[in-house]
């Protein structure tokens, strides 16, 4: 079966040129990868394939001889996944080697049909398996990317902001599943300790659905905060959410709820003995208003 290795290694340059030509006719991604880079990649893959066929044969792809090919293909498809190639582009990369390789095999073995068929069959199976490796690596990279983004989202989505001395706000945006609720609860409780806050406002304007699970998570968070001496106020209860909560039969009577974040903030200020007062001197305090006043004269 070393015929295949021989054919490839003896005609490497021709094969590589033909390969790149076939590839460009089906998928040309000159925007994503340069000709020189492509040339180099194709060359090194061909070398590795020759090495693999020689040492482990074209059937046994899990053999040690194919390690180099597997690693090379995986790293190439991983980098392509990040560059923005489509799965078809990545699979076509290996599969477009078929045509030039088959033409070459026919040229060499055209006189003995049995041998020709054998070689073509084993090389087509080989290239299919290699294409599968690239697809797998591509998917793995994509999944890795999604996982990382999920993690980033988890951290991004739970900022605890300080509105005033002793008053915190936690605007929740998006779906509250178990993993996120855990993060939300932890960051709130930690912020309560760190800032020594007496009031925490949980704003659910950005939560699309409040079902029993979300309500239960909220109640648990509120109870935990209460144990630490902080009072929670829920704000951002929209009309449709309020009606749904009533129909579901969730009891939020022990919890202070407000329609708007500003109402909740007002209540927290009032309870901590503060008030927002409108002063008549506001206009004078604004330097710009003086400026405009002069211009009018």
């Amino acid at each position: 079966m070393n015929d295949l290795a021989e054919i490839i290694s003896q005609n490497e340059d021709r094969l590589r040129t033909e390969w790149i030509r076939t590839m460009s006719s089906s998928v040309e991604r000159a925007d994503l990868i340069s000709k020189a880079e492509m040339n180099e990649q194709c060359g090194s893959i061909l070398k590795e394939i020759v090495e693999g066929v020689k040492t482990s044969g074209p059937e046994n792809l899990s053999g040690a001889g194919w390690n180099g090919t597997r690693e090379l293909l995986s790293s190439i498809s991983a980098s392509r996944a990040r560059q923005g190639f489509s799965p078809t582009d990545v699979a076509t990369f290996v599969l477009s080697l078929k045509q030039p390789l088959f033409v070459l095999i026919r040229d060499k073995m055209g006189k003995s049909p049995d041998q020709l068929f054998e070689t073509v069959w084993s090389s087509t199976r080989l290239l299919d398996s290699l294409a599968l490796i690239t697809t797998e690596a591509y998917t793995a990279t994509r999944e890795e990317l999604i996982m990382r983004q999920q993690q980033e989202l988890l951290e991004l989505s739970t900022p605890v902001v300080k509105l005033w001395d002793g008053i915190l706000a936690l605007p929740i945006i998006g779906t509250l599943d178990s993993a996120r609720t855990q993060v939300v609860m932890e960051s709130l409780l930690q912020a309560v300790v760190a800032t020594n806050s007496r009031y925490a406002i949980i704003d659910i304007t950005g939560v699309p659905t409040v079902d029993t699970l979300v309500a239960q998570h909220l109640l648990k968070t509120i109870t935990a905060a209460r144990l630490m001496g902080a009072e929670c106020i829920i704000s951002g209860v929209r009309p449709q959410i309020a009606q749904t909560i009533v129909h579901l039969g969730i009891n939020l009577e022990d919890v202070i709820t407000k329609a708007k974040l500003s109402d909740a903030f007002g209540l927290a200020l009032q309870r901590s003995g503060r008030a927002v007062v409108k002063t008549a001197a506001a206009a004078a305090a604004n330097p710009l208003s003086g400026l405009f006043g002069k211009r009018e004269e």
Binding site: T209, D211, T212, I241, T244, L248, G249
Partner: protein
Amino acid sequence: MSVQKREVLPVKNSNDVVLARQKVRQLAVELRFSLVDQTKLVTAASELARNALDHGKGGSMTVEVIVNGARSGLKMVFEDQGPGIANIEDALKDGFTTGNGMGLGLGGSKRLVNDFSIETEVGKGTRITAVRWK
């Protein structure tokens, strides 16, 4: 009564619950349900999908846009092959739970929709049908 549109979604993990909610919301918006009704439908879907997942060990959701004369509505069917419900009356009671939830999901969902029915057999599975008319 005719079915205008039907979609089947798997309910195998908690991500599927989110997808089920989104699908129901999308169809409710297409049907021009009011905002309150959309929210009720989505919340009921969320409860029932999570029930199928937590108590029924996963199953599927079928959503249908149905038309009965001049009325149109959204029908949701949740099926699982879980342990079934031993006592439907108890299960519908507020505060009754075999898990560690609030025990409001099933009874609450019933109040959020117009038609509600449970078919269950212990050891075989459960099928819950919920319809909200426009």
